[in-house]
């Protein structure tokens, strides 16, 4: 029996206990092998619920554990670093028929995934506004702004931040009827989240993609209700700027 056979049987309860595994009396291992089956599925299911606590709250613990049992058998971790486990889970939810009616659920999962990634991202100190203020208007237009490596933006047609807050740190949160763009970043110790004003998600994505400030502004000013001053201010308030390349 190879480890490949062993692991296939671990992840599939329909398969018989692999040949050659015995108890001390020489009888087939049966329940003893099931200890490994349980360890694998339960420990990975726990890792999944640690990573996606709000998804678990939304569907209920019992349902989540049953769903986790299916997910972890299909998508065991790619590496032993469990903080990077289950990046496929939002897409899995989007394609999992029993939760099809919870249309917002995959985006809530994307938000939680972004929080985990932000938490474990590289540590870089942000810079303050003086560096930008020191530039001439021409230099400013040509500048590339480097944003914090922990930055994530989730754009959803659902009020995904309100749903997340209502099911985690602020149960009284009212759920609006519109979609939300959410900024997730960890410039210092804590993961910070806020909803973004109109156009800000495009503004930040353009900067993150390495576009110059001048062309980014030109592009974003065509977006209705885009407020440049507010957006530049937001970069500093959220400590997102780490370097100006001029």
């Amino acid at each position: 029996m190879s480890q490949s056979d062993f692991s296939k049987a671990l992840l599939d309860n329909e398969r018989p206990t692999p040949e050659g595994l015995i108890d001390p009396q020489g009888r087939p291992a049966g329940k003893r092998f099931d200890v490994y089956r349980n360890n694998v599925v339960l420990s990975l299911s726990d890792a999944l619920s640690d990573a996606y606590p709000v998804v678990q709250k939304l569907v209920g613990e019992k349902f989540f554990q049953a769903m986790a049992g299916i997910f972890v058998r299909q998508h065991p971790p790619k590496s032993p670093i469990l903080s990077q486990f289950a990046p496929e889970f939002p897409d899995f939810l989007a394609a999992f028929p029993p939760v099809a009616k919870l249309t917002y659920l995959p985006d809530v999962a994307r938000l939680e995934k972004a929080r985990t990634e932000a938490y474990h991202a590289a540590d870089v100190d942000p810079i303050d506004g003086a560096a930008l203020a020191a530039l001439t208007p021409e230099q400013m237009a040509e500048a590339k702004l480097h944003l914090h490596p922990s930055l994530h933006i989730i754009s959803s047609p659902f009020p995904v931040f309100a749903i997340w807050r209502q099911n985690s740190d602020a149960p009284d949160t009212a759920i609006p009827k519109h979609g939300q763009d959410v900024l997730i970043a960890r410039p210092q110790d804590m993961v910070e989240m806020r909803t973004l004003p109109p156009g800000a998600a495009d503004f930040l994505r353009a900067l993150a993609a390495g576009r110059r400030l001048g062309e980014t502004i030109e592009f974003c000013e065509k977006i209705p209700l885009f407020d440049l001053t507010e957006n530049i201010g937001g970069l500093f308030e959220s400590n997102l700027l780490i370097k100006i390349e001029s």
């Binding site: 992840l11 108890d23 009396q25 590496s79 474990h120």
Partner: protein, 280 residues
Amino acid sequence: MTLIPHLPHSVGVGYKPQHLDDILADAGSVKWLEIHAENYMSAGGPPIAQLKRLAEQFPISCHGVGLSIGGERPLDKEHLARLKHLISWLKPASFSEHLAWSTHEGGYLNDLLPVPYNMETVQRVADHVNEVQETLGVQMLLENPSVYVAFTTSTMDEITFINEVVSRTGCGLLLDVNNVFISGTNQEYAPEDYIANFPVEHIGELHLGGHIKDQDEHGAPLLIDSHNDKVVDPVWALLDTLLKRAGPKPILVEWDNDIPDWAILEAEAARASKALEATS
């Protein structure tokens, strides 16, 4: 530069972030900490910052859980590189891993899976241990597993297997006393005999932990390594026997699930400390 294991002959605990403030305020009997290497392999973030802070105050034991040393597949070079990076900045007092496998072609299974004890496996494990020691620049400690099944392809007992690996690699050993009790019960051999025959001169660290009692389908006792409770009295008794034979060693109390308040974990460490004092 080779890292030779040099944990103090005192008691440590497995570090859990929820105990950070308690540890910094008053670690009590706890003189060193063990971390799971795989929890500190991100680019950055608070866990790494916490570990840097703790490493200024405490000797750290770096304990890997994902290298799959018993695996039929080659060792994961990327994972070895991550371990090398961690060891280079953390400068731990010890690096240890398990006599087990956890990775197959489909991914990482997050459990410590058993290997048959025969010459073919000895050679594979020894090759992997040698590769780890050469790549990381460490003398590693290899930990005895808790096992639930036996293999029809096994041709030797666990201690013979371990002795063969030590003689081929020069590695040290991490003796998990709870695992001895679990495996002995599950495989129907006397844990006391295992302790009496273990090559104590190679021990660099001892582990203690809790387990769950169950039964197999024939009503035979089946102990499951769960690290979710206090150490049971028969395991404390085995520890005393072992310390009498081996002299003082670094002792770790592991508690990884249903993690208790610091005071409860510290009390377990205090009990281990007393056992240690009785031998020195």
